[in-house]
């Protein structure tokens, strides 16, 4: 069964540095999402992306965050200048239709020092 893949599985970065989290959605999927889960808290929606543009974003997704689909396969989340509170598990998800369930990747654990 095809899967959403995320790299790296764990990223450690100094505060203030830029970080890029990578996702390869399932190949025929058209809708892409990023979520995050701070340790001990619930999974929170960050952003959804369709047709090469953001379709919805949450309050968390401020100017420090950006998403990109640089080619036909990757979907990236960039945090421009990381803060300690950005430490979390980041999940990518995709679906071929917004009425269909989202498929999640394994997540990237981001640790900001």
């Amino acid at each position: 069964e095809p899967e959403v893949t995320q790299t790296p599985s764990h990223q450690v970065t100094q505060m203030g540095q830029e970080v890029i989290l990578r996702c390869v959605p399932i190949s025929n999927h058209l809708y892409f999402y990023w979520y995050r889960q701070i340790l001990g808290q619930k999974v929170e929606f960050l952003v959804s992306f369709y047709n090469n543009e953001i379709s919805e974003k949450s309050e968390i997704f401020d100017d420090q965050f950006s998403v990109e689909r640089p080619d036909g396969s990757n979907f990236t989340l960039k945090i421009r200048s990381t803060k300690l509170e950005d430490s979390a598990m980041y999940f990518c998800a995709s679906t071929w239709d917004s009425n269909q369930p989202q498929h999640f990747g394994d997540g990237t654990r981001l640790s900001i020092l």
Partner: protein, 110 residues
């Protein structure tokens, strides 16, 4: 605003006993409800969605709009059911974004 409440962070049940994981939601529109499961060291996987009305791995969930609930039930717990369970709410016509509950860690006692 959308909200999902899972009142139990932890739930322990003996093998063979019935299981009920509670989920309540708040949403002014027409909700779409899901249960996702996360087994140890694995990804979030869809378990159930309310519109399909399926039974997966013996689990069922019925949407009760009057009580704004979508409780997950299984009549006889099995050891392999031990996992983290998340209730999630989709909005608009589908699931443009998902609002998750805080999750319930279910432990099945042998």
């Amino acid at each position: 605003a959308q909200r999902v409440t899972q009142p139990e962070k932890l739930l322990s049940v003996f093998k063979g006993a019935p299981v009920e994981l509670k989920c309540n939601y708040s949403y002014s529109g027409s909700p779409e409800l899901f249960w996702y499961v996360q087994y140890s060291r694995q990804r979030l996987q869809l378990l159930l969605r309310h519109i399909s009305r399926e039974s997966i791995k013996g689990f069922t969930a019925d949407l009760n709009k009057g009580e704004t609930s979508f409780h997950l039930k299984k009549p006889f717990a099995q050891e392999e059911d031990s996992a983290m369970y998340y209730c999630a709410l989709g909005t608009n016509f589908g699931n443009e974004k998902l609002t998750f509950g805080t999750g319930t860690r279910l432990t099945i006692i042998p």
